[in-house]
């Protein structure tokens, strides 16, 4: 794992409870999936080179985050409940490998895909390809970790396939398990931005696109977090870590994050961390502004069709997909697709759509 500047201390839950009590019990600690591990197993689950120069609590960053509402973002947001709909994908387990960057980056892509389309269609991207192929090509391994801006650069330029084309298992691999057909089933980031240190933009991005990636310094007490708003109270620096942030709450003064340490850690795999804590805003934060896929979308019920005064500008609403543009290579092509989808819609029959770069390229209407 990356080196730290302080000696690593084994987790001392009794000392932590005392420290939390002295601090007024800002959060609840206890036995988790991480406290059950040995120290070296815990630390390997961190996968970003730490930044010990960042303060454990940055008052200025906290204050800046607290007033971000003034810039137009809502006062609170939780991707698990947006108008009663949960757009977040599932909590995963990175296992015994410093691949948190792959998990945080795949998670932000999945969430942006779903939230920007207002769809809950299942999507599960391959962390294995992201880490064991793309990161490996940059010399990264389970013991070195990676960076989200590099992961998202690869996801933008090369794309990543779906989980079933390269299922994740923990431990360095040479990419040989990647399905050779992966170029025909992949997702790509269309645009992303490093917004480190800009809490207002973090809130804008989370509330508009669903999630951002974030990194922070992990101290020993974080491993035993169960619920509440985490603030570092005791323990040495263990390493740097990457997660996906899925919300925030100005009233509680915190970000809402999803970790990759199973549902047995934290609050069902989730956590809340105070504004300005452990470098959460300033370590490295990336916003993703769009995700496109190249894949067949089976069994879509067409619920709506749309066009306007622009030639070849026709959209269809698939029940799980949301709005998607029909191929706009020519008005004749898009009109042909419109006619077939209109027939399927009239019959309430499902269709298969092949989507690439945010438009439909091929249709089966049975």
């Amino acid at each position: 794992m990356p080196e730290t500047t302080q000696p690593r201390q084994p987790l001392d839950l009794d000392a932590l409870r005392t420290a939390l009590s002295d601090a007024g019990m800002p959060w609840v600690s206890g036995h988790t999936s991480m406290t059950a591990l040995e120290e070296d197993e815990r630390v390997v689950r961190l996968g970003v080179p730490p930044r010990p120069e960042l303060p454990a609590h940055d008052e200025a960053a906290s204050a800046a985050a607290a007033i971000a509402e003034a810039f137009g973002a809502p006062a609170a947001f939780d991707l698990r409940n947006v108008g009663g709909v949960n757009y977040d994908t599932s909590v995963k387990d990175q296992g015994n490998c410093g691949s948190c960057v792959a998990f945080g980056s795949a998670a932000v892509m999945e969430n942006v895909f779903r939230f920007t389309r207002r769809t809950t269609t299942p999507i599960d991207l391959s962390e294995a390809q992201l880490f064991y192929c793309h990161a490996r090509a940059e010399g990264r391994t389970c013991s070195t970790g990676w960076w989200p801006d590099r992961a998202l650069t690869n996801a933008r330029d090369k794309g990543i396939t779906f989980e079933d084309y390269y299922p994740y298992t923990a431990g360095d691999q040479n990419c040989s398990n990647l399905n050779a057909d992966w170029p025909n089933r992949l997702a790509k980031v269309t645009a992303f931005e490093n917004i480190s240190g800009n809490a207002a933009k973090m809130k804008e991005s989370i509330s508009a696109y669903g999630s951002v990636t974030a990194c922070f310094n992990v101290f020993q007490d974080f491993f035993s977090y169960q619920t509440g708003v985490y603030r570092h109270v005791t323990g040495s620096l263990a390493g740097g870590h990457c997660v996906v942030l899925i919300g925030y709450d100005d009233a509680a003064g915190c970000w809402i994050g999803r970790n990759s340490w199973t549902t047995g850690w934290g609050d069902g795999g989730y956590f809340r961390i105070g504004y300005g804590e452990c470098g959460i805003e300033s370590f490295q934060t990336c916003a993703v502004y769009g995700v496109s896929i190249r894949a067949w979308l089976p069994d879509q019920q067409i619920l709506g069709l749309w066009s306007n005064e622009s030639d070849g500008n026709v959209y269809a609403y698939g029940a799980q997909r949301g709005w998607v543009r029909l191929d706009s290579g020519s008005p004749v092509t898009s009109h042909g697709m419109l006619s077939e989808l209109a027939a399927a819609k009239a019959l309430s029959r499902p269709v298969g759509l092949f989507e690439d770069s945010n438009s439909v390229k091929q249709i089966y209407a049975w």
């Binding site: 619920l303 749309w306 066009s307 306007n308 005064e309 709005w323 008005p331 898009s334 006619s339 945010n358």
Partner: protein, 141 residues
């Protein structure tokens, strides 16, 4: 997904009576038919639930609301066309005849297909009409 080709046309359709260009959109209009006459021709329909889906982009919707008039959850109960370029009309229940945008072949064809499909399947539509009285945008639900 963003509709990158938004915007209202800036040209007024040319007057066919002073032109011999066969590609110029036709200007004839359907003879007025009263609602009572239509009701006698068209079978009554059961009202359907209104649309609950998002438009392609919220931002686009906001822009459209400023530049045009939106009619929501309405039914089309008659169609009319004539052998003139891009000249088709729809009859909207409670509103009367409206002309389909005639500025471009591809857009005219797509909008006419959506309107015809709405008529055939008796499904509700949302549409945007501009100051020139034509329908520029249709949601078929």
């Amino acid at each position: 997904m963003a509709n990158t080709r938004k915007g209202s046309p800036t040209l007024t359709p040319p007057d066919l009576s002073t032109s011999s260009d066969l590609d110029v959109p036709g200007t004839s209009s359907p003879t007025a038919v009263s609602d009572a006459q239509l009701a006698a021709l068209v079978a009554g329909s059961t009202p359907l639930a209104g649309p609950t889906l998002m438009p392609p982009t919220a931002a686009a919707g906001a822009a459209e609301a400023i530049t045009g008039t939106w009619r929501s959850n309405v039914k089309i109960d008659a169609l009319w066309t004539i052998d003139e370029p891009r000249n088709a009309w729809v009859h909207v229940v409670g509103l009367g005849w409206r002309k389909i945008y005639n500025g471009r072949d591809g857009a005219f064809q797509a909008l006419t297909t959506l309107a015809s499909q709405a008529r055939q399947t008796n499904r509700p539509v949302n549409f945007r009409e501009e100051a020139d009285g034509m329908i520029y945008e249709i949601y078929l639900w």
